[in-house]
């Protein structure tokens, strides 16, 4: 019974997300918030995992989230359904893990080389700096975009989840970031 | 082991001679539990009144009981708790 490998396919009920960027960009935070948003929006299973160690202190950073309606066996991503790349380095490193026609979201303010034409480009960092005055919320803005592009969770759930974890005093900034991210994504999604 | 335990009643004797306690020869100042005694010689060496002499095996015999001042030295220094006072 050879050629097993030719016949296999990854179960359709898994949705695999990777948030990737540099150490300071809050990818872990983003993934945790994403899990909580998904958790609120129904009865899905969610697993989050992250690269740990030296990488967590500066350098590249990634966090994986797997979402499913049924029991999640393997907890890490096998073939990504969605990749968020906030830097060129992370895009280069992880693009190969994205499945054909998977959702690719790129921070086009920091990336210049694109391995494909099939992506959603939003200038998260530039928008965060210019519209909100702080690049720290670029990650939350990206979550707004993911919300719009996938419908995995509602904007309300996302807002609740973000506000529950974000420091006091940053509520407005975060809310605004979600809105911008969501709206920018809706624009390009419609196209 | 029984020789270690409770002995004579306290006697409110008034001091005689240099010693306020009175020990007749049958009423020794101390009970010595020889079954626990390891013949370490501490009591014999430390008694300021030199009450003790060693027996053949080195264990203390009260040879001059009448001079005991109940100073406590022998019993607090006996590492094997062999010595108790007959004075309550």
């Amino acid at each position: 019974m050879a050629k097993l490998l030719d016949k296999i396919e990854i179960p359709h009920d898994r949705f695999e997300i990777r948030l990737s960027g540099s150490g300071g960009q809050g990818m872990i935070f983003g993934s945790v918030v994403l899990c909580e948003a998904v958790g609120q929006s129904g009865n899905k299973s969610v697993v989050q995992s992250q690269s740990y160690g030296p990488e967590a202190r500066g350098g590249a950073s990634k966090a994986d989230v797997v979402i499913s309606d049924s029991e999640i066996y393997y907890p890490k991503a096998m073939k990504l359904d969605l990749l968020l790349a906030m830097t060129q380095e992370s895009l280069d490193k992880y693009f190969g893990d994205l499945k054909d026609h998977g959702v690719l979201i790129i921070d086009t303010s920091l990336v210049t080389d694109f391995p494909t034409d099939e992506y959603y480009g939003i200038e998260f960092t530039r928008l965060a700096r210019n519209e909100i005055g702080s690049i720290v919320v670029a990650n939350v803005m990206a979550l707004g975009a993911i919300c719009a592009l996938t419908g995995l969770f509602t904007k309300e759930a996302l807002t609740t989840a973000v506000l529950a974890r974000a420091p006091k005093g940053t509520e407005d900034r975060n809310k605004k970031a979600i809105e911008i991210g969501f709206d920018e994504a809706m624009k390009i999604k419609k196209k | 082991m029984s020789d270690s335990n409770q002995a004579s009643q306290q006697q409110d004797t008034t001091p005689k001679k240099k010693n306020k306690y009175d020990f007749s020869e049958t009423n020794k100042p101390l009970n010595i539990n020889l079954s626990w005694c390891k013949a370490c010689n501490i009591c014999i060496a430390m008694c300021p009144q030199q009450i003790f002499e060693p027996d053949r095996d080195g264990r203390p015999i009260q040879t001059r009981p009448e001079d005991c001042t109940q100073c406590t030295i022998c019993w607090v220094h006996c590492p094997d708790f062999c010595i108790t006072s007959t004075v309550k």
Partner: protein
């Protein structure tokens, strides 16, 4: 009994475990028994409920002591008595926790737990019987073996320096520190009593005789001779103040070395956190 002025002579017997075979395994004349007596008489005077006393020890001749006594006794591993005791005390602060330990147990393998128990100022009384050697394993050098002394592992004389356990305890944070000897009995019982009554970490170092090994190897004579030696070599704290460092070289300074009744105690402080977090 706590009121009787006169030293009772038979109080000991009340605290020995009936199931145990006496006399003890200790060599004839071993100072451990004298310290055990002082400790018991102190406990008895203080009228502690023996159900609330936990006696914790490590491994060594000294550390056999709890096994003979009618308390909650925890005979642990070599060097670890204070770590176990910290668990007992912190888990059940109402208990009176007493650690009995040897110079090897407390200061060689157990040195780290020693300084950390001092640092935490946890309410444990530690009685350290310093016989300047490892008695149980047959007379090896210990962290308190004097320089040049012979032991089975320093056959040509000890080239190491020795700790001053009292000094070490004080600088590590202990809030009551005293030294006695098995010769100076009334004082010994007094400082053990004071240590037991002290709130916080208290150390009583007792200079004791292992004539079987340390005494024999260094020609110090038998038990009575060694007790005599302790008499000759001891100097009270008060006297020592006026003596030169050199004069004190091989002397034992005895008495209370340090007392701090202001320092807060570990379990008390933690209790405050519980009260705040629970409430």
């Amino acid at each position: 009994m706590a009121t009787a002025e006169k030293q009772k002579s038979d109080v000991m017997l009340d605290y020995l475990i009936p199931q145990k075979k006496f006399p003890s395994v200790w060599c004839p004349g071993c100072g451990n028994g004298i310290v055990m007596g002082a400790f018991i008489r102190a406990v008895d005077k203080l009228e502690y409920d023996r159900n609330d006393i936990a006696m914790v020890s490590g491994i060594g001749c000294t550390s056999r002591m709890p096994v003979y006594l009618d308390f909650n006794s925890l005979h642990t591993m070599h060097g670890r008595a204070l770590a176990f005791a910290t668990g007992v005390k912190f888990a059940q602060p109402k208990m009176k926790v007493v650690v009995i330990t040897g110079d090897g147990d407390a200061l060689a393998i157990g040195g780290n737990h020693f300084i950390h128990a001092c640092r935490r100022n946890i309410d444990i009384t530690c009685i350290l019987i310093n016989n300047h050697t490892y008695g149980m394993t047959g007379g090896q050098g210990s962290p308190t073996t004097p320089s040049d002394a012979i032991s089975t592992t320093t056959p040509f004389g000890n080239v190491e320096k020795h700790f001053d356990p009292c000094d070490l305890a004080k600088s590590a944070g202990a809030s009551y520190v005293a030294r006695g000897t098995v010769y100076h009995y009334p004082q010994l019982e007094k400082i053990i009593t004071a240590a037991l009554e002290h709130k916080g970490f208290s150390l009583v170092e007792v200079i004791s005789n292992c004539h079987t090994y340390y005494g024999r190897l260094n020609k110090k004579g038998d038990a009575p001779a060694m007790l005599d030696m302790f008499k000759d070599l001891s100097v009270t704290k008060a006297k020592a103040k006026n003596m030169e460092q050199e004069e004190l070289e091989n002397k034992f300074v005895i008495g209370k070395m340090h007392e701090d009744n202001v320092k807060t105690e570990f379990c008390d402080e933690y209790k405050k956190i519980i009260d705040k977090q629970k409430g």
